[in-house]
Amino acid sequence: MILILLALCVVSLSVGSVHIELRSVFHALVNAFTGNFFVSSEEELILFSVRLPRIIFAGIVGASLALGGVVFQAMLRNPLADPYILGISGGSALGAIIGIVIGASSFYLGVPLLAFVGALATVFLVFIVAGSAREALQDNSLLLSGVVVNAFFSAAILFFLSVVNSMELHSITFWLMGDLSRASAREIYVAGICLIIGFVVLYAQSLKLNLLVQGEETATHLGVHVERTKQGLLIITSLMISVAVSLAGIIGFVGIMVPHAMRLVFGSDHRLLLPVSALFGASFLILADTIARVVLAPAELPVGVITALCGAPYFIFLLKRKAY
């Protein structure tokens, strides 16, 4: 898995609107690792200040989304669940759009921060809609209220889209479909730290995730404090996801496809499922983003278009097979 990820990175470094020979990519990488790093050519400038950060960022976002999918599917015992179904994307998008409209983009991390607030507010809202605290953690009410909250946010987003001027419109539309192009050191640090914290916490809970999948009653019988565990999982996952979404926009279907495919290959033990899903999620999003960069070069597609084009048919295939 790690090898696949690395190979993908190198290939992805090479292709783009300016094609760089694989050999020069290797050469530049070797130079960088052996310490004689200096930006000597236009090619290396493109490699290290444009493509490399973007690839790392895509990997981090992909891994975060995939981990989010694993956790929500285990928690809701539903292989079709993912962070988006619970409305986190909608809330995040709404927060960001409000940010763009009121001009928060001129502040440091202004828009992502508002998106983050929107995402967290959504989690609380979903809980309130789902009912009192006790009932709120029941599977179906959470899913349903996620759908309802999502529908509401879509309407609100459309409302804002119709009142803003065209310059902002383009920026919002692109963000809505997933945009990895503004990767910079800052984005990488923020999303990377959240991913690492999230992964460590989730991995420590991997046995509990296994038990939760057996059903809440069984998990209780076997010594898991179900409500407390679910609340903790929900908070840490929401944190990780909302940060990724707020920086990269809405990238759908990674959270559904990746965990499912990994479960088919590696089984459902979360000790294995969590790391392989993170790796595959990273690889998948890097691949999708590379395609998005190349297909219409020198223009770019939003990466969410690619993931949705792969993901929606996969989703339908899952539904039809029913063997998820």
């Binding site: 296994n210 069984t218 209780t220 479960r263 089984g267 459902s268």
Partner: protein, 259 residues
């Protein structure tokens, strides 16, 4: 001091009362059968014992401490349950399911070690499930799944084993095997067993104490010979029965009269 001590417990789901003034005690290494018609509160009683549900009034003490005061992990080290039905959504291997029984004994943030795997292996040996340890749980037959559930409960190394209709899907051979296993564990490790069943003869033959429930109240409690009488069965189940002695061990034997 009894292992389980219930005093005047009351319990209701929403507005319908399912348990009223129930008091009983279970001593260590007893085998107790809980019988009664549908909806008489048998499963609820098991859930009250393993602390999944808590009584709304009264007290239930397990191993000397109220169930509300045990942590989930602590009570799972003492009480294991073999559930009535089992469904899984994601693909797990049979052995992985049994391994989950070790969870209550693991430290915080610790994974299973050699000792845990050994206990799991033994549990699967006893339940005759080693042959399909590496098969997927959702592809097993109902009886095989039930034996995996029994193995998981044994892997918990409980002091008290709760069985909720745990023999219904087993074929004759595995029923007998399972019941002898229960008796053997009961003798060797002083395992206390409480089982819910509809099969009165199974209860009479295998239990040394019987609780007969009728709409959330204990109608009769005592030895099989005391509880299983034609009069009690007529009153609680509203059927006519003939009760004689089992030719093998002398326990009460019920034959239903259809006319």
């Amino acid at each position: 001091m009894s292992l389980i001590n219930a005093a005047n417990i009351k319990f209701s789901y929403d507005t319908t009362s399912v348990m009223e003034n129930v008091s009983f005690t279970v001593d260590e290494s007893q085998i107790v059968a809980v019988i009664g018609p549908n909806g008489s509160g048998k499963t609820t009683l098991l859930k009250l014992i393993n602390g999944t549900l808590f009584p709304h009034a009264g007290h239930i003490l397990v191993d000397g401490k109220e169930t509300t005061k045990w942590s989930r992990k602590e009570i799972a080290q003492k009480v294991a349950i073999v559930p009535q039905d089992t469904s899984v959504i994601f693909p797990y291997y049979a052995e992985e399911i049994v391994l989950m029984g070790r969870f209550p004994h693991l430290g915080r943030y610790r994974f299973e070690d050699k000792k845990d795997y050994r206990i799991v292996h033994e549990a699967m040996e006893k339940t005759d499930t080693l042959a399909f340890a590496a098969r997927r749980f959702d592809e097993l037959s109902a009886g095989e799944r039930q034996r995996i559930m029994i193995a998981r409960a044994l892997a918990q190394e409980p002091k008290i084993l709760l069985l909720d209709e745990s023999t219904v899907f087993l074929d004759l051979k595995h029923q007998v095997q399972f019941l002898s296993l229960i008796h053997q564990l009961n003798k060797a490790q002083k395992l206390t067993v409480i089982f819910v069943t509809h099969d009165i003869n199974l209860a009479a033959q295998n239990a040394n104490g019987i609780i007969l429930l009728d709409s959330g109240k204990i109608y009769a409690i005592g030895t099989p010979a005391e509880v299983i009488t034609a009069a009690n069965i007529k009153e609680v189940y509203d059927v006519n029965a003939l009760v004689d002695r089992h030719p093998g061990d002398g326990s009460p034997r019920v034959s239903l009269l259809t006319t």
